[in-house]
């Protein structure tokens, strides 16, 4: 049954798949960078855990609670940034942010893959914060990591 195209652009099959079977959900064993991020208006919360080695994100996992959009986005984000140089991960986050704001974006050398399924969120302003939660956590974590390195 369908409630119309609008909703179907939000709840794409691939999003529901990530929600039901989240990738990289769980804790990283050993030392890792931990970032807690909440969506204070609605109670969504995630903790992102990352290991950065030689300027690359060697591993990324998350734990937390949230709606289908925030959790599927966290799942996709961790999948996409694992193995990427820090600089590229931040670039990708910029592209994602443009996508959420409904701006034109260029994929460049990136393969957005599943992430493109989240495009429809841009049409639901109330849900953009859900989709960007994990990405904001990633940016914050890498920012803190950079500060520590320069100290």
């Amino acid at each position: 049954m369908s409630l119309g195209n609008q909703l179907d652009t939000l709840y794409r099959q691939v999003i529901m798949d990530h929600y039901k079977n989240p990738r990289n959900r769980g804790e990283i064993e050993g030392d890792s960078l931990k970032v807690n991020m909440n969506n204070p208006t609605c109670g969504d919360r995630i903790q992102l855990q990352m290991q950065v080695e030689d300027g690359k994100i060697a591993n990324a996992k998350f734990v937390g609670e949230g709606c289908s959009i925030s959790l599927s986005s966290a799942s996709m984000m961790t999948q996409a940034v694992k193995g990427l140089p820090v600089e590229d991960a931040l670039k990708l986050s910029g592209i994602f942010s443009d996508m959420m704001l409904g701006k034109d974006y260029t994929e460049g050398d990136f393969d957005l893959g599943d992430i493109e399924a989240l495009q429809g969120v841009a049409k639901f302003p109330a849900r953009i914060k859900c989709a960007t939660l994990a990405w904001k956590a990633m940016e914050k974590g890498l920012d803190e990591e950079k500060d520590e390195d320069s100290e």
Partner: protein, 407 residues
Amino acid sequence: MDVKTVRSKFPILDQEVNGHPLVYLDSAATSQKPQQVIDAVEDYYKRYNSNVHRGVHTLGSLATDGYEGAREKVRGFINAKSMEEIVFTRGTTTAINTVAASYGRANVKQGDEIVITPMEHHSNIIPWQQLAKSTGATLKYIPLKEDGTIDLNDVEETVTENTKIVSVMHVSNVLGTINPVKEIAEIAHKNGAVMVVDGAQAVPHMKVDVQALDADFYAFSGHKMCAPTGIGVLYGKKKLMKNMEPVEFGGEMIDFVGLYDSTWKELPWKFEGGTPIIAGAIGLGAAIDFLEEIGLENIKQHEQKLADYAIAQLKDIDGVTVYGPEKRAGVVTFNCDDVHPHDVATVLDAEGVAVRAGHHCAQPLMKWLDVTATARASFYLYNNEEDVDAFVKALIKTKEYFGDVFG
């Protein structure tokens, strides 16, 4: 009460949202405004906009009459003894913060206790957390019963001779629980504490008599009772308020200003620093006229009928959990299977049904319920059974929709 006539007075309800007639079930967040309130505010701006308490000119007098006339309406509405006991604030949050910052700082010291409950809205938790931290007092919680109500025996156990302030919400914005604030006030007084009541979800929906409740302070917001945003009320007993220091200093609240010292106006104006919320107060006065015309008892019964009607239908839907006690105000908080309340609210919105999803500014209560978030439908005088039917129908569709995408 003729709901059809009542509805017709709210222009906003006559619209389509996402191709469906608007079903507004989020009045606990903010209520809609009837034409006569919109008109009163417009009339002020168009005909007699002016500052109050100062101009010798005609418009200044009209504005002062409008503003002070609204205060008298509020006094009558909640049956306060005198207008000196009615302070206009920005809303419930500001009102409670005023009590905490003024009465609290002057009367609470290290070793004292402040008693609240886990069902409180953040606005009735954080001011007390901050007061406890800054004074070294202890913040204590009256435990809740399993159905989300308060047992007076637990109040007796929690409130002691060291308790200086007891602050409880009159009606829960999540569970719909109607708390026995009169009986809690008795226990507070027996122990020498003052009773503060967060009435944000009570005053719009039922007759409140602050003298009968024997509340020392009572706070509520205009925007939840058909008035504009940005206006609220702090009621306080004169014998307490006259000894309290203002929280905001500046224009409007002074009597005499010297180079190094100043004195304050009388009650209630010493608590109203700066140009007051004139249009808001006038709008609140118009809202009170509107609500009194319909009758608070009628409104209360109507909402309870709608809540009962909704709950009866929700119970028949497989996988829907309703939170809160049997006897409740017009608030129905629920969850639907494993579908996150955000997702429920988005799909309901696509059907034109506006509900709230999230933690409802009550994170400690969410923890107590052991959920991260819930969805909430809340009713007011303009809702009808068709609204409930549309909501239930949309909720069933939501379940099917997610059943499909999950499946």
